[in-house]
């Protein structure tokens, strides 16, 4: 099987969120970047498990600049066969999806996997867009996937529960919690990653359909008001008359 896993970099979950250039750019100063956890823990690791069981290759694809290379090497260290980077600054989800779909179109993959969203933009957009451009089924928020021949059985999160479904290759999924367990790359993997192919490919032309006009940080929270643990009537009264939520 040929699997393609979409990898994006994201700031570490504990990174301080701040903006520069008149609040139009994320302030990367001092920020540690990691492989977006949903891409790594769930999409990539499950893809590796599938080819370990069925044979095949796992290619990662990233739309990004040379600044993304360390996170791409991390994905290779975890076990991906090779990596592709489309050389462009990713700004708009459709732009990113178009680059991935174009590459997939000319190289042919059985399954394309993304994480359910990135932890910085939380768009949850690219997978569905890639599927539409390629006219393939898309299984969003998949928490389980087993493959037998060209048929896959998946579980996905739906409102208020879980749905079990079947789909034939080729298809696209977004992977969520439950799909696989995190893998820590070992020293052999890290050494091997250095010599694995990382192919840098120019981007194809595509208009940005959206752009970030500006960022804002939430207003600082007012101080917490403490209520006597013996006096829950007071809390209920505050929730009713002050917060007006009950």
């Amino acid at each position: 099987m040929k699997l393609l896993v979409c990898i994006s970099k994201a700031p570490d979950t504990t990174a301080k969120i701040a903006f520069t250039d008149g609040n139009t750019k994320f302030d990367e100063n001092g920020v540690q970047f990691i492989v977006n956890p949903y891409d790594e823990w769930y999409a990539l690791v499950r893809a590796l498990e599938i080819v370990e069981a069925n044979g095949g290759t796992v290619t990662t694809i990233t739309v990004g600049t040379a600044a993304d290379d360390p996170t791409i090497r991390k994905a290779l260290a975890i076990g991906a066969t090779d990596a592709v980077r489309i050389d462009a600054d990713p700004k708009d989800p459709y732009f990113v999806a178009k680059q991935i779909a174009d590459y997939a179109q000319s190289n042919g993959f059985d399954i394309i996997l993304t994480g359910k969203e990135t932890i910085n933009y939380n768009g949850a957009q690219v997978g569905a867009m890639v599927a539409e451009i390629l006219d393939q089924p898309f299984v969003s928020l998949a928490s389980k996937m087993d493959v037998a021949g060209n048929t896959a059985t998946l579980e996905r999160e739906i409102s208020g529960g879980i749905e079990v479904l079947e789909v034939n290759t080729p298809f696209v999924i977004s992977a969520s919690k439950g799909m696989a367990e995190q893998r820590i790359p070992n020293m052999r993997g890290i050494m091997a990653a250095r010599s694995k192919p990382l192919n840098v490919i120019p981007a194809t032309a595509c208009d940005d359909l959206t752009s970030v006009a500006s960022y804002e940080l939430p207003d600082a929270k007012a101080d917490c008001r403490y209520v006597d643990p013996e006096n829950m009537d007071e809390l209920v009264n505050l929730l009713h008359t002050e917060a007006k939520v009950i």
Binding site: T13, N120, M129, E157, I158, V164, L165, Y215, P218
Partner: protein
């Protein structure tokens, strides 16, 4: 502007997320709703209360099949000349909204929390960085798709009635075959659209102690949630996990007992309008994000709070 809103139904009722999306759409322009499946015309007409002039319904599909629903919405958008398409940012919305956008060549805005600002282009405020910041997204295409976050704006309800029209466009092949659906029991709102949420963490010491959390939730008609460690060790089901890697919620009231408030947990809940934190540790970081704090033992405070709510409800009846 002409707006098309996708809505879903469950057990013969339009979901709250759908009605919210219609109410949001109405703030932008004249609104048509589109839905699918086996749902009574009389129920669909009530969508007019939330601002839809018309509801289009396609009877030829019953499951959330992303490809067929995308074709359905695209065809409805064409027939009503929609400039803006609104979809609720829930599980179904995540499967289809970006797809619809790609099909129509429309810019897509995810996690919208306010109406578009059209004073200079078309700019929508959205949640980013897992709720730790907002981005104002400018949409440059003529058609736009917006995924709207539940509970961001109040629902406006009037007494209008919507005309119901059947759709019969060709939906093509279904790429997905649904084999089974496992739905959780009960009638409370699913977490993403819940207005009241009672949540607990490791401070409860074991799954056998969740009775008091559930009792409080029952009294309030609230949905229960939990922190990540509690879901990971299997005390509670994964679908209850709120936080950065779980579900992001923005209820009116979030009551958290025995949760310290790690940054990853806060990321999923800091859109809540009011946060009540109950913790024995006065230094717990969650108190910094709380509106109301109770330094005390959840085992004593939760039952006491439950009684106080009951007394309050009895006094109001």
């Amino acid at each position: 502007m002409s707006v098309l809103v996708f809505i879903e139904s469950k057990n013969g009722k339009v979901t709250k997320a759908g009605l919210e999306a219609v109410s949001y759409g109405k703030r932008i322009g004249s609104t048509t709703a589109v839905t699918f499946g086996d749902i009574a015309e009389s129920e669909l007409a009530t969508v007019g209360n939330y601002g839809a002039d018309k509801v289009l319904v396609h009877r030829g599909i019953n499951d959330v099949n992303d490809q067929q629903l995308t074709r359905m919405i695209a065809s409805a958008a064409e027939s009503c000349g929609a400039d803006v398409i609104v979809v609720a940012q829930d599980q179904t919305g995540k499967a289809i909204a970006p797809r619809v956008a790609a099909r129509l060549g429309a810019g897509h805005v995810s996690s919208a929390i306010d109406v578009p600002d059209t004073s200079n282009g078309f700019v929508v405020k959205t949640n980013v960085f897992s709720g730790k910041a907002f981005a104002n997204i400018s949409v440059n295409s003529s058609k736009k798709v917006i995924s709207y976050m539940a509970n961001s704006l109040p629902i406006v309800k009037g007494d209008g009635s919507a005309a119901v029209e059947e759709m019969s466009s060709d939906l093509g092949q279904a790429g997905i075959t649904v084999k089974e659906r496992k739905l959780q029991e009960g009638t409370v709102a699913p977490l993403p659209e819940a207005e009241l949420v009672v949540s607990a963490g490791r401070g409860l010491k074991g799954p056998e102690n969740w009775g008091m959390v559930e009792d409080l939730a029952t009294t309030l008609g609230a949905t229960t949630a939990c922190s990540r460690p509690v879901a990971d060790i299997g005390w509670r089901p994964h679908h209850e996990h709120v936080g950065q890697t779980g579900i992001a919620i923005r209820p009116n009231l979030y009551i958290a007992a025995g949760i310290s408030g790690a940054i990853q947990h806060l990321a999923g809940v800091n859109g809540s309008k009011t946060i009540v934190v109950i913790n024995t540790d006065a230094e717990a970081p969650f108190f910094k994000a709380a509106d109301y704090g109770i330094v005390g033992d959840a085992f004593e405070v939760l039952p006491r709070l439950n009684e106080a709510f009951k007394k309050f409800q009895a006094g109001n009846n």
